[in-house]
């Protein structure tokens, strides 16, 4: 479904992603872990068109995405739940969800399904998004992304700044999506949790893929995990 070949990303002449290859099949859940500045977010940005790869190719369902505008890529079915959530703060929860409907038509049934999936959003539908707690905003951001009916859901640090109990809740919700066969690309800091949650993981370090493997392989490969855990700046 998604394929990256030799992707490099540079900002102002400084290359932060040196070479990343990645393949993601339909229904698969892929995790990306690695220390700060490893280039994880940059890889996500290059997929959704927020930064153009300086070389290499990003393909989605056979179509080359390089140089395509972010909104066009979103319409092809790639949704990003950004780090820091970025909900529309001065709009209500219901209005935020309405923004997620890509084709602009109001689909009450779809919103209703989101309310069922995220009951807290129904409770707070009329409130401004900036009144929501961090965990509620995260649910809103995910629901908003899902309303566009994405074929691929990308999440950048969904647990950032959340209380331990809230992280559990978010991951329960994500597990539900996983069981339904949603294709996901997940970037996280908590290596243990990510390896447990995903079918496969890539370990990024200094802009290249240091290791990759299935859940069981990585869990046993203590060297990789240790390198990651100890991997400071």
């Amino acid at each position: 479904m998604l394929e990256l070949r030799g992707v490099k990303v540079a900002y102002g002449g400084v290359e932060v992603v040196h070479r990343v290859d990645l393949e993601l099949g339909s229904g698969e859940v892929l995790g990306m872990i690695g220390p700060n500045g490893a280039g994880k977010s940059s890889v996500l940005r290059s997929i959704c068109g927020l930064v153009r790869p300086s070389s290499g190719e990003v393909r989605f369902e056979g179509r080359v995405l390089n140089g395509m505008a972010p909104e066009r890529i979103a319409r092809l079915g790639i949704a990003l739940v950004p780090e820091g959530r970025h909900v529309f703060k001065t709009l209500t929860v219901a209005e935020n969800l309405r923004m997620g409907e890509m084709d602009g038509r109001e689909d009450r049934a779809a919103v209703e399904r989101m309310f069922t999936r995220f009951p807290i959003l129904r409770e707070r539908a009329g409130e401004h998004a900036d009144r929501l707690s961090g965990g509620e905003q995260q649910q809103l951001a995910i629901a908003r992304a899902l309303l566009g009916r994405p074929k691929l859901l990308m999440l950048d640090e969904p647990s950032l700044g959340l209380a331990p109990k809230t992280i559990d809740l978010i991951y329960e919700l994500l597990a539900g999506l996983r069981e339904e066969g949603t294709t996901m690309l997940l970037v996280e800091q908590n290596a243990t949790r990510t390896i447990d949650f995903c079918d496969r993981c890539l370990v990024l370090g200094s802009g290249i893929v240091r290791a990759s493997g299935r859940r069981e392989e990585l869990r046993d490969d203590s060297e990789v995990v240790h390198a990651y855990l100890g991997g400071a700046r």
Partner: protein, 611 residues
């Protein structure tokens, strides 16, 4: 001018020399030219002084003022009054007081008096205007420009009304204009690199973060506004002594648009950009104006009379620049910061001042506490905090945890002065500080960081941290030494010269800690510093903060969801839930409390923190 540790001598020299060379080159073009060309060059140079005036305020504060040409107008009129021969004065402006009317000064004293008068006028006008919000300043300064125009146009007895003044001595030479432009470059650069200039730039980069570091936003803006008024006054005086005529429309809409365009075209954040933008736009304007009257290009294509071509051309250039180079031709950088050929660049990196980390680590006396009592806050009908108490002693690390939305950040906002509570008091070392502004609290020894880092993206990491010290009144040289020491302590030294905006979010959060530490706080409030750090990096942070406790002796209040960080750093933890204190105790007590597990940690907690 000394580098004072923030840039190399070479970088300073290049930043200063290139604009001066550009001025000299412009002057040389005119010296040997026709009288008309000489006039054009003098106009360019006097415009340059005004554009540098704009840069001093707009470039450093990031706040657009459309009123600065009002000061140029004031400067021009003052200079004209002081130099007009008495006979002409009596004829044209009979209402002028005798003292001014009879004065017949030379170009230099009249320009200096115009400069001082405009500086004072700007200070007086700025006093109320700088109190308005960032968004209101452009509108209120524009209103000021309109007021100036209408006073000049209607107070005929004193100003000559719309028909203006004639027969003003034409004393501005290319040499004197070039000299004034050079002085303006030196003044603008010296200001930009002064402690005050850095504080102002910090408010441009992020107003909230600047206030948290003790910086008075209005005060810094006012100072730059007045200095800008001085330069604009000089520019106006030079211009009027070039043209010999003056009317209220000389420095109005058109001149405002032209000069602001020059600054933006060159790159507003940079003094070099102001010089470059003035020369570039003037040159294009001159060429187009010649073509306007009919010309042939390379003798092949002939263009007929095309009035308005210059204006359209300038508009298109501005549009194209904004699309292709949003930071202007200079990219907002000084000449010494541009990517010159590699040889020079490497020299710059290598020669970055070898600062010793031996700056004084003055330990904070360990007595005293930050105390909040009965704090209640409601947003509309939503009660966020309900009578919360908190005590933070110096030299102690207190963890503050609780579910998202429990009110932790609101409490920090109250403690740091960003939010006035509905009830309750905050005291610092026994002194009631309730209702004090964030900048005053920062100067009293209370510093904080923010969840979203709020970096100063266009300042280097070293500059960002140095601004922290400058914010509480430390001079530039000592501020840089402090910054170098703090960066060392936090293991960020290798990033000194990197722009703060280039760091990943977690790095920016750590830089925020460094920035807050540079204020030498007695109490440091950290809002989720470990968010986005990997597990290994979290351990490093604990080590660093432990060192800070030992070396600096300040009290640390730590809001954090990363339990491994909280539990290993803080001997005392306060749990807040739904706006009230649920529990205060040791990590062991808190983690064992069923109510805390239920409200916050969750049943899978031991698993969640990992091994």
């Amino acid at each position: 001018m000394s580098a004072a540790g923030l840039r190399t001598r070479r970088s300073v020299a290049v930043s200063l020399l290139i604009p001066l060379v550009l001025i000299a080159a412009t002057a040389l073009v005119g010296v040997n030219g026709t009288p008309s060309l000489r006039g054009t060059v003098i106009t360019i140079l006097s415009n340059m002084v005004i554009v540098l005036g704009l840069q001093v305020f707009i470039g450093n504060s990031g706040v657009y003022s459309f009123g600065q040409l009002g000061f140029a107008a004031a400067g021009a009129y003052v200079a004209a009054f002081l130099t007009l021969p008495a006979a002409f004065t009596a004829l044209q402006v009979p209402g002028l007081p005798d003292l001014i009317a009879n004065a017949q000064l030379g170009p230099l004293p009249s320009t200096l008096i115009a400069a001082i008068a405009c500086g004072l006028l700007a200070a007086v006008v700025g006093l109320p205007l700088m109190r308005t919000s960032t968004l209101a300043v452009p509108i209120s300064t524009f209103a000021f420009l309109i007021v100036v125009y209408n006073v000049l146009a209607n107070w005929e007895e004193v100003t000559g009304g719309v028909s203006g003044l004639v027969s003003i001595p034409r004393t501005t030479s290319i040499e004197s204009a070039a000299l004034w432009a050079s002085v303006a470059v030196v003044v603008a650069l010296a200001f930009k690199w002064s402690a005050s200039g850095y504080r102002l730039q910090a408010t441009r980069e992020d107003e909230v973060a600047a206030r948290s570091l003790g910086i008075s936003v209005n005060g810094e803006r006012l100072l730059a506004f007045a200095l800008s008024g001085v330069l604009c006054g000089v520019g106006g005086a030079l211009a009027v002594h070039q043209s010999g005529v003056l009317n209220p429309a000389t420095f109005y809409f058109a001149a405002t648009v032209t000069t602001v365009t020059m600054m933006v075209l060159g790159g507003a954040r940079s003094v070099f950009g102001a010089v470059l933008g003035t020369v570039a736009l003037s040159t294009v304007n001159e060429i187009l104006r010649n073509v306007e009257g009919g010309a042939s290009v390379l003798g092949v294509v002939s263009i007929g009379n095309t009035p308005g071509l210059a204006a359209i051309g300038v508009g298109l250039i501005l549009l194209a620049t904004m699309i292709a180079m949003p930071d202007g031709i200079s990219g907002g950088r000084e000449a010494g910061e541009l990517p010159w050929p590699r040889r020079l660049r490497r020299a710059r990196a290598a020669a970055l001042p070898a600062l010793s980390g031996a700056a004084p680590t003055e330990k904070v006396p360990r007595e005293g506490e930050l105390r909040a009592e009965g704090i209640s806050v409601a947003f509309g009908g939503l009660r966020v905090l309900r009578s919360v108490d908190l005590t933070l002693r110096r030299g102690e690390a207190l963890g503050l945890i609780g579910p998202n939305g429990a009110g932790k950040t609101t409490l920090v906002n109250v403690l740091s002065g960003f939010l006035v509570p509905d009830s309750g008091t905050v005291s610092l070392d026994g002194v009631d500080v309730s209702g004090r502004s964030p900048s005053r609290l920062a100067r009293a020894g209370l510093s904080r960081t923010f969840q979203s880092a709020l970096p100063f993206p266009h300042l280097s990491c070293l500059e960002s941290v140095a601004v922290g010290a400058m914010g509480v009144g430390v001079g530039r040289r000592r501020a840089v030494a402090t910054a170098a020491e703090v960066l060392d302590r936090l293991d960020l030294r290798q990033l000194s010269s990197a722009p703060a905006g280039s760091l990943p979010p977690a790095g920016q959060r750590l830089l925020g800690v460094a920035r807050a530490l540079a204020t030498r706080p007695h109490y440091l409030l950290l809002d989720e510093p470990a968010a986005g750090l990997s597990e290994g990096e979290g351990e490093q942070l604990v080590e660093i903060l432990g060192g800070v406790l030992d070396d600096f002796g300040c009290g640390i209040l730590l809001i954090e969801h990363e339990m491994s960080v909280v539990m290993s750093l803080c001997p005392r933890v306060q749990v807040i839930d739904d706006g009230t204190t649920l529990r205060v105790g040791s990590p062991t007590e808190v983690q064992a409390d069923p109510a805390v597990v239920e409200a916050y940690l969750g049943s899978s907690y031991p698993v969640a923190i990992g091994a």
